[in-house]
Subunit: 236 residues, 2 copies
Amino acid sequence: AIVAVLEELASAPAAPDLRGLRVLVSAGPTLEDLDPVRYLGNRSSGRMGFAIAAAAAQAGATVTLVAGPVSLPTPPGVAQRVDVRSARQMHAAMLDAARAADIVIAAAAVADYRPAQVSTHKLKKHGGAMILELAENPDILAALAALQPKPFLVGFAAETEQLEAHARAKLERKGADMIAANRVDAGLGIETADNAISVFWHGGQHELARADKTTLARELLALIATRRAAVRAAAP
Amino acid sequence: AIVAVLEELASAPAAPDLRGLRVLVSAGPTLEDLDPVRYLGNRSSGRMGFAIAAAAAQAGATVTLVAGPVSLPTPPGVAQRVDVRSARQMHAAMLDAARAADIVIAAAAVADYRPAQVSTHKLKKHGGAMILELAENPDILAALAALQPKPFLVGFAAETEQLEAHARAKLERKGADMIAANRVDAGLGIETADNAISVFWHGGQHELARADKTTLARELLALIATRRAAVRAAAP
């Protein structure tokens, strides 16, 4: 199995060929409003997801991009862009678009929690401490994994520690085909131009060395195309 | 007194003259980290504050701009820019710079609260609800008002309701010389190009009608120059 994986990687093309495939990509943060002014946010520039959408379009795929609040132009060749703000909006947009997708790459940094109550008026300050109750957001990756037929599903994990353990746990728990994990420290990962990604799947892994996000996106798509072909070849 | 105010307004120049004055402006949101990925934020593009800094520099002032996390270029002519992220960083930068300022315009949307605990690791999700404890941030406007000698101090109030009541309460409570209040609904105020501002001071008020932020900034500075002159003329 290790030899087979190595052979697959050696044959992974530098420029992936995704012609005829429909690729759905999520990008950016989600922001969870507490009132008309305050929100709970995730740090994410959206650049990794936008680079993946751009590279997938360049590789010939029909690309749908679901974007959280970012100030980035739609990459050339992207067929459709859906802008959302909250995790629940992203959940709805992703499930809607995923039914027509062959490959789903969930690169957005989705908020796990949202304020349990949202105020339509600006909350007034009342000295001292304050307690904010949070409610859990829907699990988009798990919901995508439950689709039938299931698209080839790639999740992301941004971790400050125990990268492989957290990524492998996420792979199992969510039912994804692949987890692209990156560290969010040392000037890498979020709100930066460069990134480095460790990719995990059942029975294998591959390191994408530190590079600009355009290069990484192309390498990741080549790996996805190879892994998807291997999974389909092994299917009964 | 009303006649005097009207005369002042009638004589307010369209292009304010701030030559020889040192103006300190804050702009943008503050973001309060919960862990390396999550934060509590305020919606603010920073454009109003940046427009005020630009207009003040154009009017001949020596301008220092303290900016929260925004993706805006420093306006031409601004002498110094200090970038900060949190309310506590903004508090320190503003108090430091205010000692050398004749006029302070606090246009930043500063977070009233921050997470009571900040985690250096990414907090892991653990199903169900969650409680977030918040601690109160320092009151920058009140701290600026306590400076001796006190600069001419202009605060901002973004309100969804009871604009005048909230603005006048803030004027009294904080010890500011002027409060510029704007509604944050109906496509106005935050993350938009246009704005409309109601300006309140002890014994007077003035409406700056909906306009682009560059125009409003110039009008607001003209009003500030006029009011500052009136206050100084009335001083013992």
